[in-house]
């Protein structure tokens, strides 16, 4: 995982493999924590999905589409709206693969109303056993 400040925004960049089975239907949940405001979009197989403003048990590969070997790019932008803290956090949860798994991330922005951008890529790998 990389955490880097670029032009006043803090970027959290990471990638992870998520094992799936043939025929897996994978769902995505994105939770913005620490009482902060955030919105998410993802890109899968060249298609963009806009969160409202995030995702809750949202099926990524609807209609029985094959998911093994594909890539899911997520981007969540969090803005610090709390005067009490500058901490931000986002938890990405994938369900429907070999096992459900959460990917928690957190970073502290430098000042009030700072922006943290979480860019996480999930690579769906087939696990047949």
């Amino acid at each position: 995982m990389i955490t880097k400040e670029i032009d006043g925004n803090i970027f959290v960049i990471d990638s992870a493999f998520y094992p799936v089975k043939p025929g897996s239907q994978v769902s995505l949940t994105v939770q913005v924590g620490d009482f902060q405001a955030g919105g998410t979009s993802y890109s899968w197989q060249g298609k963009q999905e806009l969160g409202r403003p995030n995702f809750q048990d949202h099926v990524v590969n609807g209609g029985g589409a094959k998911i093994a070997g594909t890539i899911l790019h997520c981007m969540t932008k969090v803005l610090d709206i709390r005067p009490d803290t500058n901490q931000t956090s986002v938890t990405f949860t994938l369900k429907g693969g070999v096992q459900d798994r959460s990917f928690p991330y957190g970073v502290q922005v430098a000042s009030d109303h700072g922006v943290a951008v979480y860019q996480i890529t999930f690579i769906f790998v087939e696990q047949t056993q």
Partner: protein, 380 residues
């Protein structure tokens, strides 16, 4: 970032309270004790100091570092030190969304508003040094709710954040796909692939940095911040705040020689809407023999519109002891907004002791107020 940070008291209110502060000093009460609100940091009020810098640690590690640094690893009593901290906000809350804080139950209110403050100050002279030490706590039993207008604004902000992410990801995703192909090109084993993920992350960082530098992405961050700044975080409704603290005096800064000096408690209840605020306050200041204990009960009403504000306050004070007695104060304030930050203020009324010089309150003046919220009562 810290809930203990007091909102700037409107200058007009300072003018109103000025004469009271003078009288308060005569009766032995610290100047800021007389403000008609629960102090954010009672320790500072009891000690009678306005620290020029206050340590506000954001993490448990910062908190420990502040204490150890100020006390030379717990070996000495610092000379001029002030610290405010809110234990709840020192910790991370990854499972809590902002919606979880629209309303609070009693336990949540106490936990999320509890602040601890400590302060030390030199109160003596060069020949006879006396180190003052105070500690206090503050919390809200009830802390109102987030107003509907703020909820709508946060929802709009979140949708704008999601749209911004979508716009940027539309540009980034094809570049990320290409980078992943290159990063994984020669990976032959699963272990090799895992190792190459780190390389892939570096490649994504380079892409983001380059597109940020050229303004292709990130150009709307300033506008998003401006949206956030316009969101009022002040809560409305019924709020009940409790605060208390104690102060000690340590001759020659020797902690073992510290004697108890004074203590105080505040109870503040208010009802706040965007236009109208009612506030009631009771407070008690007790001394260790040298002065007379004082007990105040008061109330205040504020009506605000965009360009003007009208307020009235009453405070009754009972001072214990042979030379004590009952006093009262009644004052009204009219504010008119000349520009966005400049207010014309008129103050009229009577201060506590009608025999004392300056007891007639009659002031007219201009005040500069840079705070977005001119009148804010309650805990946050």
């Amino acid at each position: 970032v810290n809930p203990a940070v007091p909102r700037p008291l409107p200058l007009a209110l300072c003018l109103l309270l000025g004469p009271v502060a003078t009288l308060g000093a005569q009766s032995g009460t610290p100047a800021d004790y007389n403000a008609l609100r629960t102090p954010a940091s009672p320790a500072f009020v009891l000690l009678g100091v306005e620290p020029s810098s206050v340590e506000r640690p954001n993490t448990p590690a910062d908190f420990a570092a502040s204490i150890l640094s100020a006390t030379s690893n717990l070996s000495s009593l610092p000379k001029d030190f002030a610290l405010e901290t809110s234990p709840f906000w020192l910790l991370r809350h990854a499972r809590n969304s902002w919606q979880d804080d629209v309303r609070r139950n009693l336990v949540q209110s106490v936990a999320r508003t509890f602040t601890l403050s400590v302060a030390t100050s030199e109160l003596g002279t060069a020949d006879q040094p006396v180190r003052g030490l105070a500690a206090s706590g503050r919390f809200s039993l009830l802390s109102g709710r987030l107003p509907d207008s703020s909820i709508r604004a946060i929802r709009e902000l979140e949708q704008a954040l999601a749209s911004s992410a979508e716009k940027e990801l539309r540009i980034l995703a094809p570049l990320f796909d290409d980078a992943l192909t290159r990063a994984m090109a020669s990976a032959t084993t699963q272990e090799d692939s895992l190792a190459r993920l780190a390389l892939y992350d570096e490649m994504k960082l380079s892409i983001i940095a380059e597109l940020s530098r050229t303004g292709v992405i990130g150009s709307d961050s300033a506008e998003l911040r401006r949206k956030a700044e316009r969101i009022a975080t002040a809560r409305t409704g019924v709020m009940v705040d409790v605060a208390g603290g104690a102060a000690w005096r340590a001759p020659s800064a020797v902690i073992d020689s510290a004697d108890f000096d004074r203590w105080g408690v505040w109870l503040n209840a208010s009802y706040t809407t965007p236009d109208v605020s009612f506030i009631a306050l009771a407070r008690y200041l007790g001394f260790d023999g040298t002065s007379h204990d004082a007990f105040d009960v008061g109330g205040k009403f504020v009506y605000t519109r965009d360009r003007y504000a009208v307020s009235a306050e009453y405070v009754g004070r009972h001072i214990k002891g042979d030379q004590g007695g009952d006093q009262w104060r009644l004052a009204g304030v009219l504010d008119y907004r000349v520009t966005s930050t400049l207010w014309l203020t008129g103050t009229f009324g009577r201060s506590f002791d009608d025999q004392a010089r300056g007891s007639l309150l009659a002031q007219l003046g201009l005040s500069l107020n840079l705070s977005r919220e001119r009148y804010t009562f309650g805990g946050e």
